[in-house]
């Protein structure tokens, strides 16, 4: 995993988990690696892993009970919220980029549709 050195590493780790929750690579109730394991896997400081897990607990993304590995939340609402949140974030970024080059909305929407479909098709072909 590559890190952006200008934003907190623990938030980048949280985001990495959110992406996997949104795409359901990590399913509801699935066990996730321990803090130690994730630190070694991502090559980060164990303290940072701890902080990321704490943050995810606060956001109810994972649940941790004593002496059991942490699990992804069973709460579908939270998962849904993660999806919306990530979509909002991505679209917001996109709009910012598009507005910077002053393209009207109509043109953008058409372009988005055609390009989205053609990339999907290419994915299926591959």
């Amino acid at each position: 995993m590559q890190f952006d050195q200008r934003s907190p590493v623990y938030l980048q780790v949280v985001r990495w988990f959110k992406e996997q929750i949104a795409t359901e690579e990590l399913k509801c109730g699935q066990e996730i690696p321990s803090r130690r394991e994730i630190a070694a896997q991502l090559g980060i400081n164990p303290n940072t892993a701890q902080k990321a897990y704490k943050e995810m607990e606060d956001q109810h993304l994972i649940t941790t009970e004593r002496n059991v590995p942490s699990k992804i939340t069973m709460d579908q609402e939270v998962v849904k919220k993660v999806r919306t949140e990530m979509l909002d974030e991505a679209v917001a970024q996109f709009i910012e980029a598009v507005q910077a080059i002053q393209i009207p909305l109509g043109e953008v929407v058409t372009k988005v549709e055609t390009m989205y479909q053609s990339t999907e098709r290419r994915k299926i072909d591959a």
Binding site: Q5, R6, A39, A40
Partner: protein, 226 residues
Amino acid sequence: MLEVHGLKKRYGRKKPILEGVSFSVRPDSITCLIGLNGEGKSTILKAIMGLVPVDAGTVLVDGEVSREKIAFVPDLQTMPGYMTIGDALLYMSDYYPDWNPKVAEELMGLFKLLTTDKILELSKGNQAKFSLVLGFALDRPYLLLDEPFAGIDLFTKEQIAWIFSSHYMEGRGILMTTHEIIEIEHLIDRVVFLQDGRIIDEHDTEEMREVYGKSVQDRMREVYQR
């Protein structure tokens, strides 16, 4: 907590290299002592270990004066020239009651080092790895590393960096010196900047990113290029 209070050191009649250096290293964390070359980073580590006498200052480990709670990995070889890795490991277990042969063996395997190799004939990267084995296999709560990444190729760097994210870090406070931070930034809890014999800045790295949106590298530039 490893506490360094008011270290002062002057070599001969030159300008003092340390003019009252104070900082601390928390247990279970990685603190990085940053400074340009010749700023006295190594001198600080050596002073902590009692390898150079200081003109003033104290070093406390968990409240007491006790060097035997600190392991030190200098950036040069300290075993007699004739020794193989095996000889050196035997030497360590002979002299150090807190030597942990299990950790040594695991790390030897991990780094793919052979006991039959002569230490001084190893590549620079393997010498660095071997030095780390000697440091990590001592069961001590604090570990000082002098430029653990200096002059080492990228892949070896990654292998070495891994250890700092592994379970071998458990129960260890680490202080390492470095003059180039870029590849290991995300590993570090705290940075301490040294300039002209003084600590001029200190930060928790995550806080620096979160509050100021700056990388350690950014801060280094601000500190040393003004």
